[in-house]
């Protein structure tokens, strides 16, 4: 049977809980927005139920501690096709098994979760590295990003610790939402529909007068630290893949 949910993590847990409650066999779990009509099967939609989601989370915690919950949550943010089934597999196996299965690398699907988690970790690290703030006239350090995975929920903490006395905004242009920090706390925000299209680049008009000076200085620094005798384009591209270039000041 196919289950649909609202696309949130808690929604997914609710669907998994429901499958146990009803004792049904699950073939696919998919966000309702991605569901494609199928002549032969009627999907079952499960609405998010916070109490159910919490019970699943507690169950995972009992079996594998924080490490297991972290693994599943981060993997979920990969938005990868059928990530729901891998997570479902993990939960099923955990429930069936006496001991902690989080690091059972012999299990192909669990190993797959770890591989996805590694990719997420790499993307988070890249965002820590590649976010480039530009200072606006109203004193908000603003950065645009377009990560491969939905890692915005995972990166706020790092920037909050680093820049507690600044106002900053990091906006995901693909997923159309951002995190805004006002020197006290982080809020998720979304710009109006109209503004999305203008967001490919920040307009010069909204930036402070000296912003372009520092960008120029950074670009010239980037050029002069290079050692031409050691040029190694392949290595360079491996570290800074082209898809990240559009928001890098030095590129």
């Amino acid at each position: 049977m196919t289950l649909t949910y609202d696309g949130t993590y808690k929604g997914l847990f609710s669907a998994i809980f429901e499958s146990y409650r009803l004792g049904i066999k699950v073939a696919k779990i998919t966000p309702i927005t991605d569901y494609q009509e199928n002549l032969f099967a009627e999907p079952l939609h499960v609405a998010t139920n916070l109490a159910w989601a919490k019970r699943i989370k507690q169950c995972i915690h009992k079996k594998g501690g924080n490490a297991a919950n972290r693994l599943l949550y981060r993997s979920f943010l990969s938005e990868q096709n059928d990530i729901e089934l891998l997570i479902f597999h993990f939960i099923q196996t955990a429930i069936k098994t006496q001991h902690d299965i989080t690091n059972n690398f012999r299990d192909e699907k669990i190993l797959e979760l770890h591989k996805i988690n590694k990719k997420i970790g790499r993307e988070v690290h890249r965002m820590h590295a590649f976010v480039r703030f530009q200072k606006t006239k109203d004193n908000i350090f603003t950065a645009l990003i377009d990560p491969d995975f939905n890692v915005l929920p995972l990166i706020g903490d790092h920037f909050e610790k680093r820049y507690p006395a600044m106002q900053w905004l990091i906006y995901d242009t693909r997923r159309h939402y951002g995190i805004f920090y006002d020197q006290k706390k982080i809020d998720f925000i979304t710009f109006e529909e109209k503004a999305h299209h203008q967001l490919r680049q920040l307009s010069k008009n909204i930036l402070t007068a000296d912003e372009s000076d520092y960008q120029t200085l950074w670009k010239s620094y980037f050029i002069s630290v290079n050692i031409p005798e050691r040029n190694n384009k392949k290595l360079h591209l491996q570290h800074v893949p082209k898809r990240y270039w559009k928001y890098l000041t030095e590129k």
Binding site: A129, F133, W218, K233
Partner: protein, 416 residues
């Protein structure tokens, strides 16, 4: 924009780039609520140069005016280059503004020696102090200690810096004296010992009281140039091993000599020895993270690292009696010694085998380099087809692919 600043930045970053260290790791410094920046212990490379090196810090010289005349250095006094000097305020302003925009993890500040060592060192310290105290900067600061600077200044430097470094420059004192008439090993090793003592004392102080100020919490490092003097890898690695053991260094950096000068005290080479440099780093890693002793990597009989083979594979082929090892039974330490298995895959193996015996199929998926590892291990498949293979044959198998790789990245000329 102030064109002069841009020109200074170009001159003084160009002159600093031959210092290969750009690490921002190894130091934990918490931020304050009204402060700027932190260090978590894990470095971040914010970008990479065209040559693939990490750019983590704003790496500049305070000035490239210098009273010394070291042959290997672009800033030596006899070299005809454009000279410039930053003011304290300019360095502070660049650091803060680059940091706010998330371009960098912090500052790496070095300098040519102008007037005298103390005069120079005093300014480096003042910059670090101003960043920490006036601007509440808690990002990473790496300060180079100027040879000949007083102990008082070094001590003050350690209070603001996350890491201090003194470059040993050459693998032997003989070579150092040849290329740097004003320097000798004593002038490098003494400040290293001083810093080491301070760091050790500070650690025990901080154990007693968390409030004691930190002293160079990221330790100290050094750099030496290879390929500009006749020393074999045995000498280079013996020196490094001593520095790790006796001076408790965090890192020794090896910098393949780049022919930056036509000084006749140095050899003429056409390409920097990048493969040798890479092999030295691999050997260095084996000593620090893989439990290898120096004499297992190089010895009198094998004084140079094999350029066509990584040092762990070379070790395995010199010691065929130790292999193959049984992946399902061997200790972690032995698994680490298998060519093609790194720290991460060794740990994965240890935790995966608790759930049942591992077969080739499992191992291939774990992320180790099966192509190399397969000659040195056995697993639950009981497949012994590589068991009788002679070291020379295995050597051909595993080095050929490395040679091809090297050819693709245009480094073949080094073997010619």
């Amino acid at each position: 924009m102030n064109e002069r600043i841009k020109e200074k930045l170009e001159i003084l970053s160009d002159a600093a780039k031959y210092d290969v260290s750009c690490s921002s790791s190894g130091s934990k410094r918490k931020n304050t609520k009204d402060g700027m920046g932190n260090s978590t212990g894990m470095g971040i490379c914010h970008t990479y140069t065209q040559d693939g090196r990490c750019v983590s810090l704003l790496k500049i010289l305070l000035t490239n005016y210098c009273i010394f005349d070291c042959a290997y250095c672009v800033s030596r006094k006899s070299n005809d280059v454009k000279r410039a000097a930053f003011t304290v305020k300019e360095v502070v302003d660049l650091t803060m503004n680059f940091y706010q925009r998330n371009y960098i993890e912090g500052l790496f500040l070095s300098s040519g020696i102008f007037q005298n060592p103390d005069y120079t060192m005093e300014r480096l310290v003042r910059i670090a102090k101003e960043l920490r105290t006036v601007h509440k900067f808690n990002g990473y600061i790496h300060l180079k200690t100027i040879p000949g600077a007083s102990e008082e200044l070094m001590e003050e430097a350690g209070l603001y810096a996350d890491r201090l470094s003194v470059n040993i420059e050459m693998p032997s004192e003989l070579s150092l004296k040849k290329v740097a008439p004003e320097k000798d090993f004593k002038s490098v090793l003494e400040p290293m010992s001083f810093i080491k003592e301070k760091i050790t004392a500070n650690k025990s102080e901080r154990k007693k009281s968390k409030k004691a100020p930190m002293f160079s919490p990221g330790g100290q490092s050094t750099q030496l140039v290879i390929g500009a003097s006749p020393e074999k890898d045995l000498e280079v690695l013996t020196l490094a091993d001593d520095l790790y053991k006796q001076k408790s260094l965090k890192r020794v950096y090896y910098s393949g000599y780049i022919p930056i000068s036509e000084d006749n005290r140095l050899p003429v080479i056409h390409q920097p020895p990048l493969i040798r440099e890479n092999r030295l780093y691999q050997a260095d890693w084996l000593m620090r993270f893989y439990g290898f002793a120096l004499n297992e990597i190089v010895d009198e009989k094998h004084p140079d690292l094999d350029l066509t083979l990584d040092p762990k594979a070379a070790y395995a082929l010199r010691n065929p009696a130790i292999f193959p090892i049984d992946i399902n039974k061997a200790d972690y330490e032995m698994i680490l010694r298998v060519p093609g298995i790194g720290v991460k895959s060794a740990k994965k193996i240890i935790s995966a085998r608790k759930f049942g015996a591992l077969r080739e199929g499992h191992l291939r998926k774990l992320g180790l380099a099966w192509k190399r590892a397969k000659y040195f291990i056995t697993c639950a498949d009981k497949d012994f087809k590589f068991l009788g293979w002679k070291p020379e044959v295995i050597r051909q198998q595993i080095s050929s692919s490395i040679l091809t790789k090297a050819a693709n990245s245009n480094q073949l000329s080094l073997f010619a």
